[in-house]
């Protein structure tokens, strides 16, 4: 998976953007972030300037994210970063002065710090401040596009190389993301070429490969977690579903119709109604009653000479009337 997290988006230039995206897919990139830049004052209610399904067809192999870059030049200004971060997938800051860079590293809530490396900075990057940002999981971005197009006769390329080596030295090569910031398709380079460029800047083959793969991925995933999850730690991917239960009314209704087991309530209601049907007798009960009747029959035939203990079943008459229903009483 290769990432290019900075492709400038311009609303009036869809044809060229379409071509750039197709070219990036051809070069082998999988995820691309379209970038909207806010410089100066941040509007009160921020809305996403990039339409979510793009108005033209983009290559199907390409996953497209939406990102916003805020230029920081005035440290006292309110940048409403929280509003921006809820509207965009990734929020990046582009500080222009030493003080703004410090603020961005120490305090501001963002996912990327994207310095404009094609200009000359009147200050050095300090490890102590950048390390704080790295601790917080913020990545530093190097955009190589300006160095390739080289529109101003070599100055931007020189500055880019000098600043990139500085940045790599100060951060010890950790937390670096390389992206293109290509205004034209011409400024994009294949992943292997970008890795080689990073090697020439002093990043090393492994770190270079991470810069457009793993580090960029972790930046996007962290950004997503910050927006969706609880405290940036816990995220519910799939909460499961409740199994559907059949309604309870069915059972009672069934019993009232006389199908299935009878319920006590039904019986009571029938008794109250007065239409008490004699309880049907089980086979066991029938047999027992038949046997009893037979015994008594023989007793009366054999006469009263027999001992009194056989008369014991005699109080049968006091037994509840159900047995009589059988029909073969004394």
């Amino acid at each position: 998976m290769y990432y290019d997290l900075n492709i400038p988006y311009a609303a009036e230039n869809h044809g060229e953007l379409k071509q750039t995206l197709a070219f990036l897919a051809e070069l082998g990139y999988n995820t691309v972030a379209l970038n909207h830049t806010i410089s100066g004052k941040v509007p009160e209610n921020v809305t996403n300037q990039i339409p979510s399904p793009l108005p033209f067809s983009s290559p199907p192999s390409l996953h497209i994210l939406r990102r916003c870059t805020v230029h920081l030049s005035d440290p006292s200004q309110n940048h409403r970063l929280n509003n921006i971060s809820s509207a965009y997938d990734i929020v990046a800051l582009r500080p222009t002065t030493d003080k703004c860079l410090q603020q961005a590293c120490l305090g501001f809530e963002c996912d990327l710090i994207s310095l404009d490396l094609s200009t000359r900075f009147p200050f050095y990057f300090k490890h102590s401040t950048l390390a704080v940002a790295l601790e917080r999981g913020i990545k530093f971005e190097i955009c190589y596009g300006a160095g390739i197009l080289n529109s101003d006769g070599g100055a931007s390329r020189r500055n880019l190389i000098s600043n990139a080596t500085q940045l790599i030295r100060v951060t010890r090569g950790r937390g670096i993301v390389v992206s293109s910031e290509a205004k034209r398709a011409l400024a994009c380079r294949g992943p292997a070429d970008v890795i080689n460029m990073a090697v020439l800047w002093g990043l090393g083959q492994e770190r270079g490969a991470e810069a457009i793969g793993r580090e960029a991925r972790s930046a996007t995933v962290q950004a997503e977690l910050k927006r969706r999850s609880h405290g940036g730690v816990v995220d519910v991917m799939y909460g499961g579903e409740k199994p559907e239960r059949p309604a309870r009314e069915d059972k009672v209704a069934k019993a009232k119709q006389g199908i299935g087991k009878r319920k006590a309530e039904v019986l009571e209601s029938q008794v109250a109604d007065g239409n008490v049907s004699p309880r049907p007798i089980s086979k066991r009960e029938q047999k027992r009653q038949a046997k009893k009747a037979r015994l008594e029959h023989t007793n009366t035939q054999e006469g009263e000479a027999e001992s009194t203990w056989k008369d014991r079943p005699a109080p049968e008459a006091s037994v509840p009337p159900e047995p009589l229903a059988n029909g073969d009483g004394e």
Partner: protein, 208 residues
């Protein structure tokens, strides 16, 4: 046996921007209807010769690294193969400095640079494979060309392509199988294990 070790870079020359800015005389509609794959892998102009490409790379190395860099690179820099039809090139350079040459290629934006016949066109040089032998670079070039043809046919949705895909994809697999230890690697730059063989020495004699 002691010999000079080389690296061979297999390079695709891609044309990311449609040609309408250069050649207004060709009809715009035919250009637009082409799939992007074909547009990017457009044939290079015939004016682009191996000598011109070598000189363009030398110029770029001189621009980026100065006399010192050019001195390191130039003794072994050589364009071994250039096919304008497929816009593919194999560039030989010394093993110690191949990253310098690669970097110079990455910073190139226009070709052919100083030709009198053809105007420069914007292009992107993409290194798709580095290898220690020219043989492996060649095999990779053939493999990629074949895959590109199949992909184009599939994307353009040509009805006749269905039969052809089956026809072509089989020998493709066979070819890979026959080559045996041909590791199909997508990413250039990490394949150092290739052994140099007889073929390489032959080519070397020709080249110098």
């Amino acid at each position: 046996m002691v010999r000079i070790k080389h690296r061979y870079l297999l390079v695709h020359i891609l044309y990311p921007e449609s040609a309408d800015s250069q050649s207004k005389n060709t009809s715009d509609t035919s250009e637009k209807s082409l799939p992007y794959l074909v547009q990017f892998h457009r044939p290079s102009p015939n004016e682009l010769t191996p000598q011109l490409l070598a000189r363009a790379i030398r110029d770029q190395v001189l621009l980026l690294y100065g006399d010192y860099g050019l001195g390191l690179v130039s003794s072994s820099l050589n364009v071994k193969y250039l096919s304008p039809a497929t816009s593919t090139a194999i560039i030989r350079c010394s093993r110690d400095q191949y990253r310098l040459v690669w970097g110079a290629l990455a910073y190139m934006t226009h070709l052919p640079k100083n030709s009198k016949q053809a105007p420069p066109r914007p292009c992107v040089m993409q290194v798709v494979r580095t290898s220690g032998t020219i043989k492996k670079a060649e095999q990779e070039a053939i493999k990629r060309a074949r895959a590109a043809i199949l992909r184009t046919k599939r994307e353009s949705g040509d009805g006749s392509a269905d039969g052809l895909i089956g026809l072509f994809s089989q020998p493709d697999e066979e070819a890979v199988g026959v080559s045996g230890n041909g590791k199909a690697r997508d990413i250039a730059g990490s394949d150092v294990s290739d052994e140099e063989d007889e073929m390489d020495v032959e080519f070397e004699d020709e080249g110098d």
